[in-house]
Amino acid sequence: MAAPRDKSGRPIVVVTGMGILTSLGAGKTDNWTRLTAGESGIKTVTRFPIDGLKTTMAGAIDFVKVDPFSSTGLSERLAVLAIEEALDQSGIGSKGDFPGPLFLAVAPVETEWPQRLEVGRTIGRPDFTTMDVLRASGGGRFADNHHRFMFGSVANNLADSFGTKGSPISLSTACASGATAIQLGVEAIRRGETDAALCVATDGSVNPEAMVRFSLLSALSTQNDPPQAASKPFSKNRDGFVMAEGAGALVLESYDAAMARGARILGVVAGCGELTDSFHRTRSAPDGKPAIGCVRKTLADAGMEPEQIDHINAHGTSTPENDKMEYLATSAVFGDHTSKIPVSSNKSAVGHTISAAGAVEAIYSLLTLEHQRIPPTLNYEVPDPAIPFDVVGNKARDARVTAVMSNSFGFGGQNASLILTREPA
C-alpha cells in the first residue's frame, strides 16, 4: 500500500503527544477543566514589587520554582515539564533519546537584573562605571551567568536532557514564535528528513523590565482591578494585552511512523502559513493584507476551502488594533461564512504567553477538537460592534468541530497560522 499522503503528496503530519503549562495550571487535564469552566489565571503580580508600574497584573506561573530565579531559568523549567508530559503521552523513543530534532520558541535572552545587581555589588564602592562592571565580571566568579544567558542555552540544555537529534533550533518570531516552531517541525517531516520532531514553545518573562518594556509601548492593559477582568478580547472596552507565562510541547510525527508504532493520533497539522507585514514595527497594515495573505496561504497549504473551517482560535490579544485587524482579515477571507464560525481567544483566560502562545493555543485547539467543546472568551460583556464575530463569550460551547484555524499575528510583522484537524483529510 502506498504511504498515505496529503493532497499535495507530502507526508501527513500528526500530533501524538502534548504537554502544557499556563497560569491556569500544569497539564492538559487541569488546563482544559479550568479553561472551559471560565476560570482566569490572571493575578496581581507578587513575584517582585509592583510599585510605580502602570500594569500590575499578569498570568505568572508561581507554582513552578527555580533557584536561582531567572526568566530564562523559568522558561527552561516550564519547557522541561511540558516536554515530559508530551513524551509521556506520546510514548515515543526512550528516556533521554528522542528520535528527531528540537524546534524551540523562546523569548530573547539577556542577563537579568538580579544577576546584574549581584555583579555591581561586588565592586565595593558606589561610584563605578560600565568598564568597572566589565572588569569585575571575569575570573570565573560569574561563569554560570555566561552559561545561563547564552541565547542557545535553553534549547541546548533541553537537547541534552531529552536526547533530541542534531542541532537544536532556538527561534523567535515574537508572538508567532510557537506557531513557527510547529511550522518548522511540519516542514522537516514533510521533507522526509525525519519521522518525528519535538516542537516546544516557552515563556517565563514576567519580570520588571519586560513588563516595563511592553508598558512603555502602551501594549499592556492597565485595567488592574480586578486583574482577571483585564484581558477582554473583542470587547469594546479592551485596552491591551496581559503578559503571561506558559509552555507548550508537541510531538509531531509522520502519519506513517505514528501508525507503525501504534501511537494514538491526537490530531493533524493540516496546514501552516506565514506572511510578513512590512507596514510598521508594532502595528499591522490597516488594510489587513498581510494577515489576509497569511490565512489564504494556510488554507492553500492545507488544500482546504474557507467553508471547511468550523472554529477559529483567534490571536485575540485584547489590544484595540490587533483584534480589529484580525476581524478585518478574517472577514476578507471567509466572507459570508465568517458569521458562521465560532471564534474564541484563550488569551482572555491565560493572558498572552507571547513566545509560547502559538503552541499553547495549538494545544487548546487540539483539545477543542478532542472534546468537541469550544472554550470561552472571558470578560465578553461589551461586544465591540466593529468586530461582529460569533464570539464564544464567557461560557464554553459544545459544537461540532472538525477543523480549527489558530492564528498568531505579532510584533515585527510576524504572521503565522495553523490549521488543525481531527483526522487526516
Binding site: P49, I50, D51, G52, P108, E110, T111, R116, L117, V119, G120, R121, P126, F128, T129, T130, M131, V133, L134, G138, A143, D144, N145, H146, H147, M150, F151, G152, N156, A159, D160, G166, S167, P168, I169, S170, L171, S172, T173, L184, A188, R190, R191, E193, E209, V212, R213, L216, L217, E274, L275, T276, S278, F279, H280, R281, T282, F411, G412, Q414
Partner: protein
C-alpha cells in the same frame, strides 16, 4: 522524493571592520589588512565597524532612528545582498522571498543600567526603585531595537522582503542552522529564494560583560587566532553578512548569475563534557559534505577560545592538505554572523577564481596557488554547536 534542487548563492552583502562591499573586502583580504582597536575598551580588544553611510541602504532617517547599531548593520548588509542579486525593488520576488535571520539581541541603554547599579550599590534601592528607574528612563522604542526578530522586521520594512520571516537565536550555531534550513527548504521545493544572514555589533560593553563572565575575551595585545594558544580568547567584531540563496532554476529563469553553489550544510551539538567531542563531531559530519578535492580550501570561524579551538586544530590536523583561512584573525569574532561571513567569503573567492592569501605567522594557513573549486566553511561555537558547509564553483 524528487531529486533535491541545486542551491545557488546569487547575492552577497558584506559590511565589516574592513569596509563595505565585495571589492573592498577582496582588496583588504589580499593586502592582509586587519582593523583592530585595542584602546577603546582596553584591555579588551574589538574589531570596529569601518565608517559607513547608512543612508545608502536605509534612506529614511526615521527608520535609522528606530534601530540600534546591530540592526542598522544587518539591514544595510541585507540591502547590499539584494543589490548584488539584482533584486532591489523587484516587488514580485521580494514579496514572496523567504528570510532567515540569525540574531542575538540589541544593545541596552548602558547609562540607565549604570545609574541603577550605582544607586543600588549606594544602598539606595527601596522596593519599586528598579521599576521607577526603568519606567522613567528607558526610551520607549528601545525595546524594538533590542528584540531579536526586529532585525528581520526592519529588513521587511526597509527592503520589502515579505515572504516568511524566521529569526534563529543561539550564538554561532544560529547562522549555521539558518543556512542549513534555508538550503533544505530550497532543495525540497518549499522555497524558491531566500535571504539568509546575520549582523553583529562587537563594540558593546554589555556583550563584553556577557562573555567576560566566561573569561572568553581576548585582552591586552591583538594576536592572530592561531597564535593565541597561551592566551586564548576572542576579540568581538562588528559585521553584517547576508546571502541571497535560490534554486538554480529560479536563478536561471530570471537570468541571475551565481557566485557559487551551496551544496551542503550540516550541523550538530556535541556534548562537550567529553574532551575531543567537537573534533569527533566535525569528523563525523565531514563525509556528509562530499569533498572530493583533498587540496580544497577551508574557511573557519575559529574563535580562539579554548578548549574548542584545540578541538578544531585536532580536526584540521586530520586533513593536512586543506588551505585554511581563519576569519577570526581578520574580522574578530562576529558571533551570529561568523558562519554567514565564512559562506560569503567562500562564494566570493570561488567567483574570483582564487583564495585570498594566508594571514598566519604560525604556518597553519598555507597559500593556495590554483583556483579553488570547493571551499568548506566551518564553524564551532565558543561554547556550543558546530557545523560545516560545502561551497562549490558553478561550472
Amino acid at each position: 522524493m524528487a531529486e533535491p534542487k541545486e542551491v545557488w548563492i546569487t547575492g552577497i552583502g558584506l559590511i565589516s571592520s574592513l569596509g563595505e562591499g565585495l571589492d573592498a573586502h577582496w582588496d583588504a583580504l589580499s593586502a592582509k589588512r586587519v582593523n583592530v582597536d585595542e584602546q577603546r575598551f582596553a584591555p579588551y580588544i574589538v574589531h570596529p565597524l569601518a565608517p559607513v553611510s547608512f543612508d545608502a541602504q536605509i534612506p529614511k532617517k526615521g527608520d535609522q532612528r528606530q534601530m540600534e547599531a546591530w540592526q542598522r548593520i544587518g539591514t544595510y548588509a541585507a540591502g547590499l545582498a539584494l543589490d548584488s542579486a539584482g533584486l532591489k525593488g523587484n516587488q514580485e520576488i521580494l514579496s514572496r522571498m523567504d528570510m532567515i535571520v540569525a540574531a542575538g539581541g540589541g544593545e541596552r541603554d548602558l547609562n540607565v543600567d549604570i545609574n541603577i547599579l550605582t544607586a543600588d550599590a549606594a544602598g539606595n534601592s527601596q522596593p519599586g526603585f528598579l521599576n521607577e528607574k526603568l519606567m522613567n528612563e528607558l526610551r520607549p522604542t528601545l525595546f524594538l531595537a533590542q528584540l531579536s526578530n526586529l532585525l528581520a522586521g526592519n529588513i521587511a520594512i526597509v527592503h520589502g522582503v515579505c515572504g516568511t520571516s524566521r529569526t534563529f537565536m543561539g550564538e554561532e550555531a544560529s547562522s549555521i542552522d539558518a543556512a542549513r534550513i534555508a538550503v533544505a527548504r530550497i532543495e525540497a521545493g518549499q522555497s524558491d529564494i531566500a535571504l539568509v544572514g546575520a549582523a553583529h555589533n562587537g563594540e558593546r560593553p554589555d556583550l563584553l560583560i556577557l562573555y567576560e563572565f566566561g573569561d572568553f575575551n581576548l585582552t591586552g595585545q591583538y594576536a592572530p587566532v592561531w597564535q593565541r594558544k597561551d592566551k586564548p580568547g576572542f576579540a568581538l567584531g562588528s559585521a553584517g553578512a547576508f546571502l541571497v540563496m535560490e534554486s538554480r532554476e529560479h536563478a536561471e529563469a530570471r537570468g541571475a548569475k551565481p557566485y557559487a553553489k551551496l551544496t551542503k550544510v550540516v550541523a550538530d551539538l556535541a556534548r562537550r563534557k567529553q574532551p575531543g567531542a567537537v573534533t569527533n563531531s566535525l569528523q563525523a559530519m565531514w563525509p556528509k559534505l562530499g569533498v572530493s578535492d583533498d587540496k580544497a580550501a577551508l574557511i573557519t570561524g575559529t574563535t580562539g577560545a579554548e578548549p574548542v579551538t584545540s578541538d578544531e586544530r585536532a580536526f584540521l590536523a586530520q586533513h593536512p592538505g586543506l588551505a585554511v583561512r581563519a576569519t577570526g584573525t581578520t574580522f574578530g569574532h562576529t558571533m551570529e554572523a561568523q558562519f554567514t561571513l565564512g559562506l560569503a567569503l567562500a562564494a566570493l573567492s570561488l567567483s574570483r577564481g582564487a583564495l585570498y592569501p594566508a594571514n598566519d605567522p604560525t604556518g597553519l594557513e598555507v597559500e593556495k596557488a590554483d583556483a579553488p573549486t570547493q571551499i568548506v566553511v566551518m564553524g564551532a561555537g565558543h561554547w556550543q554547536g558546530e557545523g560545516l558547509a560545502l561551497v562549490e564553483a558553478v561550472k
